[in-house]
């Protein structure tokens, strides 16, 4: 697990620091650690970083940093692993209305798996989901850890428009649509939170390496939160992931 990172050029202004070649919470937590160290190190010339399942792309300015000196800096950071106090990953609660007009496919997901709608909700909201990375559309979280007991195939014909905030299931994955877009996932609910809001100080709600947890709410509660989100008064509830909580992968 503790193999050294490998480095590859991605042109003259970016490099890939590869930490492994599988999708695993262990690799992701190393990426989170290095991303945290990089943020704190504030190396002159680093423009931004893009953490993914198994690597970090480091975008840099060749006027200020060259390829080999950047690798030297990153190797030094690697050697410092474990010496820095990395704060625990955070869990963000995602209030979600399940079923009805907000989750038109929940009955399908239930019958497909031979369980009740209540089971689907209970199973879906009883896990902390690791955010492996964000991509596809701005703010879309690639989540890990959904139970196979509620897995469901994609729609044969994708919908032309899925409302932002829709919570869906595709195969063994679950996810949330950050913006209105076409899509083929089975929609089981909707959150009033805005995962992406370009006008907000922090335009994207979630961050790779952290976790989310779905919390079922009634329609009235949904509408109350929605109004508060609209007025920028709502603050999503977050708390540190407790030790050992991610051991069930």
């Amino acid at each position: 697990m503790c193999q050294n990172a490998r480095y590859f050029p991605a042109g003259d202004s970016a490099l890939i620091m590869e930490l492994g070649n599988e999708i695993s919470p262990a690799i992701n937590s190393r990426i989170r650690e290095i991303a945290y160290m990089l943020e704190n190190e504030n190396i002159k010339g680093i423009v931004e970083t893009v953490p993914t399942y198994r690597s970090i792309m480091v975008v840099y300015d060749p006027m200020l940093l060259d390829y080999s000196s950047l690798i030297e800096r990153l190797k030094y950071l690697e050697s410092q692993r474990g010496k820095t106090d990395i704060p625990p990953a955070m869990v963000t609660e995602i209030p979600t209305v399940y079923g009805g007009e907000y989750g038109p496919d929940i009955e399908f997901v239930a019958s497909h798996n031979g369980v009740t709608v209540e089971d689907v909700v209970q199973i879906h909201c009883s896990t902390n989901y690791l955010i492996y990375m964000l991509g596809f559309t701005p703010g879309f979280p690639y989540l890990g850890g959904m139970s196979e007991r509620i897995a469901a195939p994609r729609l044969e014909v994708p919908r032309e428009r899925i409302t932002a905030g829709s919570v869906g299931i595709a195969g063994k994955q679950t996810g949330i649509y950050p913006i209105n877009s076409p899509g083929g996932w089975r929609i089981i609910g909707r959150t009033p939170l805005k995962l992406f809001d370009p006008g907000r100080k922090e335009p994207v709600l979630l961050k790779a390496g952290n976790y989310i947890r779905f919390v079922p709410v009634e329609v009235e509660e949904f509408k109350r939160i929605e109004a508060e989100v609209e007025e920028s008064r709502y603050c999503a509830r977050t708390y540190p992931l407790e030790e050992g909580e991610d051991d069930d992968f």
Binding site: P9, T52, V59, Y67, T137, P138, P203
Partner: protein
């Protein structure tokens, strides 16, 4: 003083772009920005703006605009047959437009993306630190979309240098656009997913740009490149100019509106200074590749940065050219006058 431009015809695709939106790729937000960043920077310098100010990116033909008020503009990049009040408008040169003047782009002559800078910049709000339009998420630029007939854009009014007369980018700073380009690339990050003979094939072939080419990327037609074992990787980051090779083996070059991550193998990455040449390619144009090292690519990057600084110094110095139009017996002559010490 600010002036306005009223869009009479939006043409094929006209958007507001600066040098891109950095800092949000980790959240899945594409960088966007001017496809030909050299031409945009030159256009800005010509009107006295900072290099990174936003301008208009005008793709193919058809764009036309009317000005309200008086101000300085410059058109660089592709030669799209720009005319000012019916007369050819010299590219890579600043010009003062008067109230009621019209600029029309009439034909695609060389390249396909022109840039128009307005003295004082384009007055649109910055979204997440940039004025660049990213159409898919409907953010940045002019209301997050491409321009349409009737849109009114106002110039900015601060941060630029005022000067008299008109200036032109000297020939030594002009890029050589062509429909048959050789661009340089750095191999990797996944070139080890291809056998050596397939990499040789890739480097010794010519590819044609297909109809599927836009701000997001260019699909190429030509010899298919085989993978050693499968085309897919577990997703990682995609840099500007990355060349993806999916299962069918035909390369795709990732451009400004590319998604931030992806799961196809990337054989190589076009170097930054050659991106403007790619930016000007149209369907049917041809491209071939030459391998360079990261160190060479970074030396070329620094060289170009020095070139832009020299251009900046030149255009801001007092020795610039003043261009005049002189009429003698109904015949027009253009003359350039340089102030000597």
């Amino acid at each position: 003083m600010t002036f306005k431009m009223v869009v009479e015809n939006p043409g094929f695709l006209t958007t507001v772009q600066d040098l891109g939106r950095y800092g949000y790729q980790q959240f899945g937000m594409p960088v966007a920005g001017a496809m030909d960043d050299y031409a945009l920077q030159a256009a800005n310098l010509l009107v006295g703006n900072p290099r990174g100010e936003a301008g208009l990116e005008i793709t193919y033909s058809g764009f036309s605009t009317r000005f309200e008020g008086r101000g300085r503009v410059a058109v660089t990049g592709a030669d799209l047959g720009a005319k000012l009040n019916g007369r050819p408008l010299e590219p890579w040169q600043s010009v003062v437009v008067e109230d009621g003047d019209m600029i029309v782009f009439t034909a695609v002559k060389k390249g396909c993306r022109a840039y128009m800078a307005l003295e004082g910049g384009v007055s649109v709000p910055e979204v997440m630190g940039s004025k660049s339009t990213y159409i898919k998420a409907e953010i940045g630029g002019y209301n997050g979309r491409k321009l349409v007939k009737g849109d009114v854009l106002e110039s900015g009014d601060k941060g630029h240098i005022n000067f008299e007369g008109s200036i032109r980018v000297p020939d030594e700073f002009l890029p050589q656009y062509s429909g048959d380009v050789n661009v340089r690339l750095v191999m990797g990050p996944q070139d080890d997913c291809f056998p050596p003979e397939e990499i040789e094939k890739f480097l010794n072939s010519k590819y044609a740009v297909t109809n599927q080419c836009d701000r997001m990327g260019y699909r190429l037609e030509g010899p298919a490149i085989k993978h050693s074992s499968g085309p897919d990787i577990i997703s990682d980051g995609i840099a500007l100019g990355a060349i993806q090779v999916p299962g069918h083996g035909r390369p795709i070059i990732m451009m400004r509106d590319r998604q931030t991550t992806g799961g196809y193998t990337k054989i190589a990455n076009v170097i930054s200074v050659d991106i403007p040449l790619l930016a000007q390619l149209k369907p049917g144009d041809r491209v071939s590749f030459t391998r360079v090292s990261v160190e060479e690519a970074q030396a070329l990057f620094r060289e170009r940065e020095e070139l832009l600084k020299r251009l900046e110094d030149y255009l801001r110095s007092k020795d610039k050219f003043f261009n005049y139009c002189v009429k003698i017996r109904d015949r027009e002559f253009r003359i350039s006058v340089q102030r000597l010490l």
